[in-house]
Amino acid sequence: MTITFGDWITEIANWVFLAIALPTLGAAVLVVSAKNIVRAVLALVVTLAGTAALFLMLGAEFVGWTIVLVYIGAVIILFLIGIMITRAPLTKNADLSQPISMRVPAALLSVILFAVIGGAVAASFGGAAIPLPDEATTTASIGETLFTNWVIPFEVVSFVLLAALIGGIALARQDPAEEGEV
């Protein structure tokens, strides 16, 4: 079944989709084009928030709020702290602007990547629509599947994360003896 543009545009939800998607897209462009590193990160926040909102629209509440909690609430904050502790000039960062010779291939690559992924998704799902879940969200079922069918991958992933955590601490922590030598 195909959806005409007329059908599409009369549906109020699609307006909401546009209201979210367009700023998200704009913010995404801003992330790579911003002249100030903190602003770029803040634009990334908007992009992520938009993505989260799209997930919410699709009824994937758990994923949506996870993006907010993990990406905006933790990852971005750590980005910002890292930047601000080391250097956070309020002016433009000179080393952020790349020469044209680097911009053009980057833009080209992005467009190709988008085309490939978009094409692949469209080709495999086409106009297939998944009905929005009713009242209950899918969180319970996510949890259930995670801890029954996928419990081993889940544990493996958490183990990897733990290892990464320990590795991070080991890297960041200065050895007192070494410090003494220097």
């Binding site: 905006i72 209950a136 969200t137």
Partner: protein, 339 residues
């Protein structure tokens, strides 16, 4: 599906929640003025509005608003201007899921608790933005302190909540209240008790400590420590934007107390009151519990000096988080094995 009524419903609820937030924040400001005064043997506000100086918070707000809205030279004005909105919006968003009675809740999300944690973490973002964009070293240091503090205490806070979720078996706030209202049978005696009395006392203490830290209130108010950083990330703010931060702070205090009351003290529910009565008296019951917790937070402020940033981090990572983890373990054990 989404209909026109859906949007009308949303708008009405948003306005109601906004009114509740601002109204309760103003009351909290007034309470702070009065409670602190009496603890310090002062009279406190006395003239504004006549009796008991009840209009003092309004007068304060008006005074702040009529000041000049300054953006410091050299500041990143877009970010600077946006920061207070983020803080207020994040605080406001928490009011959406707080149930004031079985039916009086803007939106009872299935993921209520998860949503709360996600949304309240956005405050950090606003604070960091405010600190960085002010072009002021005190502000930057204050913002960094705030962020470090909020990150450190998000963890014990979440873990304390996890313990409650494990016991209740749901993340919906209404569900959690109902779980507390459900009677437990010990021997022949059937009784319903709030979670505080049924094994969550450790979680409650951790939650309260962490929430005071999240609120940046004494003894954890290093981000705005006036004797060190003048006013931290708020230093450069004036006028309406300062008022927003100010209101946001007190609204956050209310919302944190409301969450604590809901999670641990039974929210709008108290024993021996029928379902129907709760429909009408629920809000008052919840507000009474909130007041109790707010008073507790004010009391702390009147009593204690502030800690140092490293001591605060020490406390979070070396004490609160391990204890909270252990607590989750114990509660999960009881939940799975004993009951």
């Amino acid at each position: 599906m989404i209909t026109g009524w859906f949007w009308a419903d949303v708008i009405v609820k948003v306005i109601l929640a906004l009114a509740a937030m601002i109204g309760m924040a103003l009351v909290a400001i007034y309470a702070e003025l009065k409670v602190m005064s009496h603890m310090q043997h002062r009279i406190g506000p006395y003239y504004a509005g006549g009796r008991w100086g009840w209009a003092q918070p309004f007068a304060d707000a008006l005074k702040f608003i009529q000041k000049e809205d300054l953006v410091p030279e050299g500041a990143d004005s877009t970010v600077f201007r946006a920061a207070p909105y983020i803080v207020v919006a994040a605080t406001f968003a928490t009011f959406v899921v707080i149930p004031f009675s079985p039916s009086l809740v803007a939106r009872d999300l299935d993921l209520g608790v998860f949503y709360l944690l996600a949304v309240s973490s956005l405050t950090t973002l606003g604070v960091l933005m405010a600190g960085w964009s002010s072009a002021n070293k005190y502000s930057l240091m204050g913002g960094l302190r705030a962020a470090g503090q909020l990150i450190a205490y998000e963890l014990p806070l979440a873990l304390a909540v996890v313990a409650v979720v494990v016991q209740a078996g749901t993340m919906s706030l209404v569900g959690i209240v109902e779980a507390q209202a459900a009677p437990i049978t010990i021997g022949g005696l059937s009784i319903s008790l709030p979670f505080l009395l049924t094994g969550q006392i450790v979680s409650f203490v951790i939650f309260m400590v962490a929430s005071v830290a999240e609120l940046s209130r004494i003894p954890f108010d290093m981000p705005i420590a006036e004797s060190e950083l003048t006013m931290g990330y708020l230093t450069e703010y004036s006028s309406l934007r300062f008022t927003m931060f100010f209101l946001g702070e007190y609204a956050a205090m209310i919302s944190m107390s409301a969450i604590a009351a809901t999670l641990f003290l039974g929210g709008y529910w108290i024993p021996f009151v029928s379902e129907t009565a709760l429909l009408y008296f629920g809000p008052f019951i919840l507000i009474a519990k909130i007041s109790l917790l707010v008073f507790f937070i004010l009391w702390i402020r009147a009593t204690w000096p502030r800690l140092r940033e490293d001591q605060l981090q020490d406390m979070a990572w070396r004490w609160l988080i391990p204890i909270a983890l252990l607590n989750v373990l114990v509660i999960a054990f009881f939940k799975v094995v004993v009951f």
